[in-house]
Subunit: 570 residues, 2 copies
Amino acid sequence: MPYNAPLTEYRFLLDHIVGFDQVAATQTYADASPDTVEAILSEAAKLAQTVLAPLQRAGDLHPAKLESGVVRTSPGFAEGYRAIVDGGWVSIAANPEFGGMGLPMTLTTAVNEMMGSACLSLQLNPLMTQGQIEALEHHASDEIKALYIPKLISGEWCGTMNLTEAQAGSDVGALRSKAEPNGDGTYAVTGQKIYISWGDNDFAENICHLVLARLPGGAEGTKGISLFLVPKFIPDAQGNAGATNSLSVVSLEHKMGLHGSPTAIMQYDGATGWLIGEPHKGMAAMFTMMNNARLGVGVQGISVAEGAYQHALAYAMERKQGKTPTAGNDAISGHADVRRMLTTMKAEVFSARAIALACAVAIDMAKATGSPEWKARAALLTPITKAFGTDTGIAVADMGIQVHGGMGFIEETGAAQYLRDVRVTAIYEGTNGIQAMDLVGRKMMDKGEAAFRLIEEIETNAHGVRAQYPNMATAVWDAAESLREATEGLISQEMNDRFAGAVAYQQAFARVLGSHYHLCAAMAEGKDGPRTALARVAIKRLLPQHKALLAQVSLGAEELYALSDADLLA
Amino acid sequence: MPYNAPLTEYRFLLDHIVGFDQVAATQTYADASPDTVEAILSEAAKLAQTVLAPLQRAGDLHPAKLESGVVRTSPGFAEGYRAIVDGGWVSIAANPEFGGMGLPMTLTTAVNEMMGSACLSLQLNPLMTQGQIEALEHHASDEIKALYIPKLISGEWCGTMNLTEAQAGSDVGALRSKAEPNGDGTYAVTGQKIYISWGDNDFAENICHLVLARLPGGAEGTKGISLFLVPKFIPDAQGNAGATNSLSVVSLEHKMGLHGSPTAIMQYDGATGWLIGEPHKGMAAMFTMMNNARLGVGVQGISVAEGAYQHALAYAMERKQGKTPTAGNDAISGHADVRRMLTTMKAEVFSARAIALACAVAIDMAKATGSPEWKARAALLTPITKAFGTDTGIAVADMGIQVHGGMGFIEETGAAQYLRDVRVTAIYEGTNGIQAMDLVGRKMMDKGEAAFRLIEEIETNAHGVRAQYPNMATAVWDAAESLREATEGLISQEMNDRFAGAVAYQQAFARVLGSHYHLCAAMAEGKDGPRTALARVAIKRLLPQHKALLAQVSLGAEELYALSDADLLA
């Protein structure tokens, strides 16, 4: 499955759509000059295209295996990981103080997308480490930072997140893992964690687990949870991986996809751990990592959408069936319904990518300026990016199968793998339902202020181009106005009524926002530009969906409960 | 994966929604008394629940294999097939003249659905045979009928369909297989066919292949194609499977799902075949089989939707996470967003099943009365049933995964298998794009007469209940009116403009029609009935989608081609 990194598209989005110039103009990111950006993106593209893309099928066909307690990774993955490490790609955003490049999250986002398009299951490994670095930078002691972060940045060591337990999934507060003080400043961590992505591997010197557990006296629920760093090998005074810790991989899951990524059940039996952050404040520390990871997972959806689009397009331009209206070319890409699918796929990738990069810009600006407005923008866009990015990954991969016809169902083609791999992204790091509830709950605790500010921008922009693009501008303005009204209705609702319309609201928000960026692209390119043609597809064919979605928002929960459990079973 | 056949639901649909009483009142189906219907459905339910359901996972875990040219089926499948055969379930619709029961297609539809919910990959086997019986009944000579049909009905022999070749998929007319007269009334058939479902097995005495090939002098394209019956073993004068024919299974495909069903590449090397129907009229004969099969495949989608719904519901009622608004019960089925998914799944299954049964009733009425109106109704509903049934299967299976959260991605749970299995149903027997083109093309050659007649019925019905259910009746009436307007616009469009909106039109039609049946259910049950509550979910939350879909119908194809191939690649 050859892959071509969309470098021109990143350049266009950074320059014309998401306002990356603001990021580059800050003191914090002064290093992100156009030349640096160019160099970073083109080098990452080379890695993705030449080294990682060939691993995609290998990971699927030869899943990671647990042999005598040791995880054996898929063929080529160790070499692929080495190339990621050697290029310095584990984290380009990490703090220079510990050996990082201190580059913006916006660039990390593009780099992660490329690595994920090429080989999603391997890309998940550094994504986990990136989150851990971020959490340690914010919450760890200076000693821990100095010991661990350089090893994580260099890729010698890998990081994982351990939240879930069998009885504690979306309800993290139900966890039972415990940590007892050892009296020497360390803790003995005991419990079983499930769904641990890259819980172990055979190519890193050490695996550092961030584990949520409860200290003695910790309250029930999320308020009594603390965060611990529990390494597979306990580092000695020189920072070398030393004694084996009391933890093990119990088993690896047999999954629908993402076979190259070992998903472990981890057992901790009084394993030595170090407290990260304050006692009982583990959730806050974990959220640092989780928000980062949520953007990262949204981007995984975009990775797969881009890969599946390229893959389906190549097939559609090669495969001939029947007569098309396209003179002299009977490739199926010329059939109206296939073209509908291809243009929809491309339009959706554009929307999802623009939203993700806008989210990353907001994160960078919040960090660089400390502005509460940027912080609120980043917080608002994170669940939208995660849910819409992954929904788009699934929808585009599904259309990719359909474009292939019968070949789409045959595994050798590779189209099915995209769908099987990406399906989990709508589930992990908080299901898309949880994202939507975060959006209508926590992210509306400002009475919708951040949402209204963004809607205002969309409307102002649309208003400004109504002369140039009367139809598109009106459609976007009207949709934004409907979104404003729905938001006003939403914040006056009881929480469970909000939850009943949460997914629909989140999808409508993404639809309006994506259309806004399409309109911006049309403004930048002018009437005859190809992105303007794509904007017409997005705004005329897809944007109208927002109305049916917003209709659900106003309904509340009552009707959903009118059917009893017995009625559902009947 | 336990399965409970929805017998009460069939009874309700037959009695109150799809007008099965008309079928039972005909001379042709006089045997379909309430007692017979009851007996048939409950016996089929028993088979599905006890014998077939345990095979679902076995087929997935142990795919059919090709060993030294012989297909070895999944563990238990031979016994499962034997139970189907012994119960007389291969075909309950076949002509009594040849040993069939001559029962309505409406009952076949319910029986097929139950068998498919229990084990889709095994159910596909008799579904293929049913289609072959139908084709032979209509087009074969008396001799062929007498020799083959009783064996097919009894299940001693199985039937397959051989249309596709590597270069001839949706474009069947591009096929290259040839048939040469042997001089003794038989033909030598040569060529390679792909995607042959159940191309071979190890539990039937003989496999009878219906093969499309071109006779000498046959014109290019679909007009020069003839249909041949090519048995694996050539029957002797007594009708016993005799000499081995010159055909073989080249290989089996490695598929995304439906692993229990062997999908073969078949090679014919001058294999002895018998012409079915007239020379060069093979497509017409094949369409008899294909229309039957299209309804059957639509029902496969419903099978999986029902199975996935039951499976997800059981999980959601068991799994506890967090606090729900449902007093004393913190099963996740009480969370608003999970309940949204569950009620949506149930509402969609109802819509798809009602449409499929209405299609089957139309087929039965057309056969029993010869009425052109019923024929046109059946022709109109077939592509809608196929596409909406399979789209529903995919959407509901996907929601089933989401309801399971992390467990949905773990294969042992079984949720993923539903999606992997059902995905092909939107592709085979004509992709859903092809179905939509059939709907807006061939099925509108009557200038929309059949469509308008159905829309009229929907409006009349909605008008009649506006006092009882003002909101729901108005919503359905308005939607039907929008569908009428869109249909008027559609039939005035050039064909390629129709094709650009074909899928959207088909989806909107299904949405309106499904809502109509929900409204009928509310009428039958009264204000406090559970199906009335479900109708509110369908009509208030889902029906509004029709507007965005119909908006696409009016756009035509132009914008899809505004992006050049180079633009798509950029």
